[in-house]
């Protein structure tokens, strides 16, 4: 169930009325299932998106750059509009939350418009990513002080544009982007108690880490993000063992982008040519050691913590094995069995996909089933060109893929029908 809190909130009064439970028990049950701060996309589209559009409209309106309007008039209009919007947003925050939220979004858009307008008025052509940093920082302050999920999402978007521009247009690694996410956005997940934000911040962290490490040294990129992904996944294994609460949900959401990163990295390392580039860190600069050994230490501490708590699972072992294989060539150096590595990564990916397909079909979990099928199909397609020369072997490979997926789909349907009958 996606949102048990909302469902329980609706059902519990009936249970109390029917004498099944008393109100204290109802409160206790409800407290076990914290409220999910899911995004109300309808409201976002109507009010948030509307505010963004108004803001963009204002930017474009000023882009016309009337000669007849002096620079003081232009500045007065923008500052006045910003001040008035903040005034009404502030005044309405207690009795009309949604209107206030939309007005604050509009204010942040107006602030961005103001930055570009000042640049236009004074013909400033400086380091343009700084404008996105300033804009994002102001949204971050509002996200903390309101607190506000839409402002947090705007912050993530703006900081990503900033970091992307720094790396792509100027070749700057911008290490402080990671610091800003770690100090500004990760604690905000706690502050907002929002699993949705956990997923977005986690994704943003991986993007930023990838951008930074790739611009330091492209050989560092793979190891660094895979080690961080392993850490996040280990964290989610631990948080899953906690009593149902927002931390458990947040851990699960943090791990979602990490799983994607982990699977993609495993897939890339299943190619012999690519894996050597990805796993052998050169350590030419001290910063490379930092981005390699810190995530390694974190992942291993979490692994030991899981082991100490006897939280074994096949996935924990698969991830730890991948981590150890990955770091061996960089830590030990020298020659490593590249072909054996490629074979092991292929087998790990194959095992992972079959495991997901099995779990998905057996426990009627469509999401796992889809992920397993996608990984399995991608692996077969990737090896299609590498391994199979003759048309007969290619045909057999496709027949096996089709057969496995068809069988798994049949099992999934059967189990879903069985579950449905059992619940009815």
């Amino acid at each position: 169930m996606k949102n048990p809190h909302a469902w329980l909130k609706k059902e519990l009064p009936h249970w109390i009325q029917d004498g099944i439970i008393d109100s204290d028990q109802a409160r206790q049950i409800l407290s076990r299932y914290p409220e999910r701060h899911s995004l109300s996309w309808g409201k976002i589209l109507i009010s948030g998106f509307g505010a963004v559009m108004v803001g963009l409209g204002i930017i474009l309106l000023f882009a016309y750059n009337w000669d007849a309007m002096g620079r003081f008039s232009k500045m007065s209009v923008v500052l006045g509009a910003l001040a008035i919007t903040h005034f009404f947003a502030f005044r309405t925050r207690l009795h009309n939350h949604h209107l206030s939220e939309s007005l604050f979004i509009l204010a942040t858009m107006l602030f961005g418009a103001g930055i570009w307008l000042v640049a236009q008025i004074y013909h400033i052509d400086e380091h343009y990513p700084n404008a996105f940093l300033l804009w994002g920082f102001s949204a971050l302050l509002l996200a903390w002080s309101l607190p506000s999920l839409p402002q947090a999402i705007m912050t993530i978007g703006l900081l990503m544009i900033w970091h992307f521009s720094e790396v792509m247009d100027f070749d700057f690694a911008t290490h402080h982007a990671l610091l800003l996410i770690l100090l500004g956005l990760f604690p905000l997940i706690w502050h907002l108690k929002s699993p949705v934000l956990a997923r977005l911040v986690s994704a943003a962290f991986f993007v930023s880490l990838g951008l930074t490490t790739a611009s330091v040294d492209e050989h560092l990129f793979g190891s660094s993000i895979l080690l961080v992904a392993a850490s996040f996944i280990f964290f989610s294994f631990w948080s899953a063992s906690l009593p149902s609460g927002w931390l458990s949900l947040a851990g699960d959401e943090l791990a979602k982008p990490a799983w994607l990163v982990f699977i993609v990295m495993l897939f890339l390392m299943s190619f012999g040519d690519l894996s050597d580039d990805l796993i052998r860190v050169r350590f030419q600069e001290p910063v490379e050691s930092f981005y390699f050994y810190l995530p390694l230490l974190l992942s291993q501490l979490l692994f030991v913590w899981l082991m100490a708590r006897r939280q074994f699972s096949i996935m924990t072992i698969v991830i730890e094995l991948s981590v150890l294989l990955l770091v061996y060539p960089s830590v030990v150096g020298g020659v490593y069995p590249a072909q054996l590595y490629t074979l092991i990564f292929n087998l790990l990916l194959l095992g992972l996909s079959i495991g997901l397909i099995y779990q998905g079909s057996h426990f009627a979990d469509t999401r796992k089933m889809i992920w397993g099928s996608l990984i399995f199909t991608a692996l077969v397609f990737a090896r299609y060109a590498d391994l199979f020369d003759s048309l007969i072997s290619r045909a057999i490979a496709f027949l096996i893929v089709g057969g496995v997926l068809f069988f798994a789909g049949t099992v999934l349907n059967r189990n879903r029908n069985r579950n449905r009958k059992e619940t009815s």
């Binding site: 882009a63 750059n65 500052l79 903040h86 930055i115 903390w144 002080s145 100027f170």
Partner: protein, 322 residues
């Protein structure tokens, strides 16, 4: 507490905008005004409407202007550099030296940032590419094209655009306004050399039309035989080359009147010894130089009442005009 934090967040937005605007306005009001001649091109910014992208004489500087201690160092991309400027009687500035340290005393300077990593030994480059934050000039939508038309295009009369720039004591530059040069210049090829021409016919014959595009009656001192013009290597040329100075009439210049819209055409036969350059210690016709050696013709008499320098488009000695 929560309310106070919210007030701080709101105040931050208002204060940041005010600070951005007021710090620039302060430079505009109190900074030293200089004029910088440009060569614009014409893009459009999706969010900020029409703007003219500006390229300055000091956007690329010869490494010989670098302070001695920097010559063998690696200069990092984005590094702040200070370009000391010299202002002439018309307010136009020219770069004199480049350093990583802020000039002392009353020196006039502008702060720029290096666009590319630079090491003399590593790249053998002779130019430093810098950005000063004044490379875009925003105008009302539709006026960018008008300005481009007035600036002119290839094979057309081109009028120099001059930016009025305020310089703060820390080297920050803010564009205040623009004005137009008094003279328009048009450079055309009268005759190109044959592909297999010998050394005496290896260069082109160029024509330079000079037109008074102002509303004023102007007077230019002109020596016979176009000797009031010299050449200048373009910024990206491997090395700066100078004319040998042979056969040029150094007599007193004649005062030539240019009423508004008056024009006069000068012919430059680059095969003549007058236009030969000193290349590898030899007198060489410009048409025999490698392709990256390109030049501009510059009017070189001292005139205080003319707005803007008179500078032609870049050309190669064989007659290819940019």
């Amino acid at each position: 507490m929560k309310k106070a934090f919210l007030v701080i967040a709101i105040t931050f937005q208002l204060a940041a905008l005010l600070w951005m605007a007021l710090s620039r306005e302060y430079v505009v009001q109190t900074g030293e005004m200089v004029k910088i001649q440009t060569a614009p091109i014409d893009p459009r910014d999706l969010f900020r409407g029409d703007f003219v992208r500006l390229d300055y004489d000091f956007s690329a500087l010869p490494s010989k202007l670098l302070a001695g201690h920097l010559l063998d160092q690696e200069l990092k991309k984005g590094q702040a550099l200070y370009v000391t400027l010299q202002k002439d009687s018309r307010g136009l500035v020219k770069p004199v030296s480049v350093s990583d340290m802020k000039p002392d005393g009353n020196a006039l300077f502008v702060r720029g940032r290096l666009i590319r990593n630079w090491t003399k030994n590593k790249y053998g480059s002779s130019t430093l590419a810098l950005k000063y934050g004044i490379e875009q000039y925003f105008v009302e939508q539709g006026k960018g094209i008008d300005m481009e038309n007035r600036r002119g295009r290839r094979n057309q009369l081109q009028t120099p655009m001059i930016m009025q720039v305020a310089l703060s004591s820390s080297g920050t530059a803010i564009i205040k306004d623009h004005e137009w040069g008094d003279f328009g210049v048009k450079l055309t090829v009268q005759r190109q050399p044959e592909r297999d021409a010998d050394i005496t016919e290896a260069s082109a014959v160029l024509q330079l039309e000079l037109k008074n595009v102002s509303r004023r009656n102007l007077v230019l001192p002109l020596k016979p035989g176009a000797c009031s013009f010299r050449i200048q290597s373009i910024k990206t040329a491997p090395r700066e080359l100078a004319l040998t100075g042979e056969n040029c009439d150094q007599s007193d210049p004649e005062q030539v009147a240019f009423n508004p819209d008056d024009s006069r055409v000068f012919t430059f036969d680059l095969n003549q010894a007058q236009w030969h350059v000193l290349y590898k210690d030899e007198h060489t016709p410009m048409g025999k130089l490698p392709w990256d050696y390109r030049f501009r013709l510059i009017y070189d008499e001292s005139v205080e009442h003319i707005n803007g320098d008179i500078v032609s488009q870049a050309f190669h000695g064989r007659g290819q005009i940019d």
